[in-house]
Each structure stands twice: as C-alpha cells, then as structure tokens.
C-alpha cells in the first residue's frame, strides 16, 4: 500500500480534518475508486498475406462443432481490422468468411463480411445456395438517407476506406467491425445489425428487411473460417500491403448495442472474458502471436500460413 501524500489535491500535511475526523486519528484509509474496465496488453495482430490460397491463409479448416450457426440462430461476430489495401484494389476484400468445412463452394452455409473497395460498401451476407441468400450493405460516402448513419460512424468522408483513409479508429489505428444477428432469417437492419467501433451503421442500403433471394436454409454442419480472405478460394485478400486483424470474438447471441459498446471499450481492446456477456462467448482469438482460442471452450486454433504472420501492433 503506497503512502498517501495528497487528499483532494491538498498535501496531506495541510489536511487537518477528513470526513469529520482529525487526520491524526485516522490509522488507515481504504480508498474506493471507480471500477476500471479490464483490458490487456494487446501486443500482436495477424497480418493476412495478400497472396491467395490456403497456403497463405489465416483460417480454421474445421471449426469442430464450435461454429455452425444456421439462418435462424442468433450470433455476433466481431473483430478489429487495420486495412492495408489501397485505392487501386478495385474489387472486394473479404474480412470474415465461413463456409462448410472442406467445401470449395461459396454457397455452402456461407456467412461473410466483405468490403467492396471500388464501391465503398461493407456487406453482410449469408446463404445456403446461389438462389437462397440474404444480405445488406453499408455505404460510407453518402451523408443522406439510409447511408447517413454509416457515413457518420465510419468517418471516412468522401474518400473510400483504405490504408490511406482509415476513418474513425480505436487504439493502434484498428477499427472494430461487428455484426450482431437475431434469430430472424434476414440480413435487414432490424435483424442483423452492423457496427463500426460500436456505433450502429443504421439501416444500410436495403433497410430494415435487407435484400436477398429465396430462403436460406443453413444446416448446423462444421465450418471453415477465414480472416482476410474468402473460404472457397481463399482469395480476395486486398492489395498493396497486408491487412491486419485482431481480437476476433464469436458469440452465441445477438449482442445488444450496449454490449457491443462495452466490447469496443472506448477503443481499447477488451479482454472479452471479462465482458458482461462472457458466458455467451463461443470463440475468442486474441491473436497474441498465436492462433489459439482463449474463450475457454477449446475451439480449434487459427492456422497462419505462408507469408501471413503475427506482427506487433
């Protein structure tokens, strides 16, 4: 216990009375401080190689029963990203992707978040077939209508998202992207809410009911999961320099806005095991120089292959 030198900004020698007692009569002071938000020393992130293929992927080949969400299950996927692509990418970059383990088809129980650089749109989509899919997208450069919330949340202005324009960021220039889906079979904003640094991106282009084709009917089979590429060709990883990913959390409920704000923790990456909804934490990858799950559920580890590697943040 350190010695007390000041009370209420007064030197202890100048304080005669504290809480109605002579200071000389007080043997010990127990100091109660406001609860601080737990965090941890987050020193590393994983950098996804811009080269394609499983030999360069950051991926889990088989989630081993830990990730098998269907169209009518609630879940939340959240991760931090530091873009490495530039304005010449001119295609999409996949941030998070999952499909049936072992499949090379985009249509097998797919869930994904991807950013289309040439259009400045962030998409959330899931599907069970090419004609059974739901999606919505969030446009960042239009400060009007359904797009105004995303414009404000991202802070990118009229310039598209890239390494040269990361918009609103948390610590170490990382942005926390989150999708929180309800049990309803829809990617519309009433049911699948997407957040940038804990701020809701609003209705998105297709609004409260989203868009799609047919009715996805996903089965609860194991999935392969990738950060920084899709999971059918392990491509669409950006260009120019590697994009970094950090602190992936997967929850078996739709986190509320306040719970996502808690996870964002004012930009300081939180130890998710201390989160108020930690009981719903299904998978947790801090990516602290390894791909291990730290949720306590013994989920499979991420493989970090080829030129993909862990880097200091």
């Amino acid at each position: 216990m350190p010695n007390i030198s000041h009370i209420n900004n007064k030197a202890i020698a100048d304080v005669a009375v504290f809480n109605g007692k002579n200071i000389s009569d007080i043997g010990e002071v127990i100091t109660l401080t406001a609860a601080t938000t737990p965090s941890f020393a987050d020193s590393f992130a994983v950098a996804k190689s811009i080269t394609t293929g499983t030999a360069q992927a950051v991926y889990i080949a088989d989630s081993d029963g830990h990730f098998n969400f269907t169209h009518n299950q609630a879940y939340t996927i959240s991760f931090w990203i530091k873009p490495g692509w530039n304005s010449s990418l001119n295609t999409n970059v996949h941030l998070f992707s999952s499909t049936t383990a072992g499949s090379t088809s985009a249509n097998d129980n797919m869930i994904r978040l991807f950013y289309h650089e040439s259009l400045n749109r962030l998409y959330f989509e899931y599907r069970s077939a090419s004609n059974a899919k739901k999606s919505n997208f969030y446009l960042f450069h239009s400060n009007s209508g359904n797009h105004a919330a995303a414009y404000a949340a991202a802070g990118l202005g009229s310039t598209y998202w890239s390494a040269a324009n990361r918009g609103n960021v948390g610590d170490d220039d990382f942005t926390m992207i989150t999708v929180a889906k309800s049990t309803t079979n829809s990617a519309g904003s009433s049911y699948a809410k997407v957040y940038w640094n804990g701020t809701w991106l609003g209705n998105g282009h297709y609004g409260s009911n989203g868009t799609g084709q047919g009715t996805p009917n996903m089965t609860s089979v194991d999935r392969q999961i990738a950060l920084g590429s899709n999971t059918w060709t392990y491509s669409k990883s950006g260009n120019s320099t590697e994009t970094q990913f950090n602190d992936l959390t997967i929850w078996n409920k739709q986190l509320s806005a306040s719970e996502i704000s808690e996870l964002y923790n004012s930009g300081a990456r939180l130890d998710a095991t201390t989160h108020s909804a930690a009981a719903n934490l299904q998978m947790y990858y801090k990516l602290e120089n390894n791909g291990n799950d730290t949720s306590g559920n013994s989920a499979p580890a991420f493989a970090v292959n080829g030129n993909s590697n862990f880097e200091s943040v």
């Binding site: 811009i50 394609t52 692509w85 530039n86 010449s88 990418l89 001119n90 295609t91 999409n92 970059v93 985009a106 289309h116 650089e117 040439s118 259009l119 749109r121 998409y123 989509e125 090419s130 899919k133 999606s135 446009l139 239009s142 797009h147 282009h205 491509s235 669409k236 990883s237 950006g238 260009n239 120019s240």
Partner: protein, 84 residues
C-alpha cells in the same frame, strides 16, 4: 443477359435501368457491364458470365488490383445501383 466491355461513351448512352452489374477499370476508361440491353458499340462481348469471369482471371491487370479477376458470384451479388 448480355456481357460487355464498353467505353465511357457507350456507357453514357446505355440504358442504366437495364444494367445489373457494372465494374469500372482501374483507370475508369472501360466498363464491364452485365445488362439486358443489346449494345452495338462494344469493345468486347462474352457469351456468358463464365466466359467473362474467365477473361478477367486471364487478364486481371487493369480491372482489379489483386490479380484475382471477377467471379460470376460477384456479378450476381454486387448490384449496380445508379448514383451511388
């Protein structure tokens, strides 16, 4: 459905309401479009989405910055919306 590479002049004359997919080249001088409209003044035309995908994978330079090409799935999912 029709699959074309066109220049900016042809695009200006095209019926935007019939375009379902648009991809500009990196230098924005040429456009890949998928449209129900028949266009005469094209640079190239393709028989199918698969043929167009194959072309972009064989010649990605100038179209995409990651050398991956454009997939049929992208042509179906990334809808052209005029004005945004």
């Amino acid at each position: 459905m029709n699959y074309y590479i066109i220049n900016t002049n042809s695009f200006a004359l095209s019926d935007k309401s019939k375009i379902i997919y648009l991809h500009k080249s990196i230098d924005e001088t040429k456009y890949i479009i998928v449209t129900s409209e028949t266009i005469d003044g094209y640079i190239a035309t393709f028989e199918s989405a698969a043929a167009l995908e194959e072309y972009t994978k064989e010649y990605p330079s100038g179209w995409v910055g990651d050398n991956t090409g454009i997939t049929q799935e992208e042509m179906e999912d990334i809808k052209y919306i005029e004005g945004i």
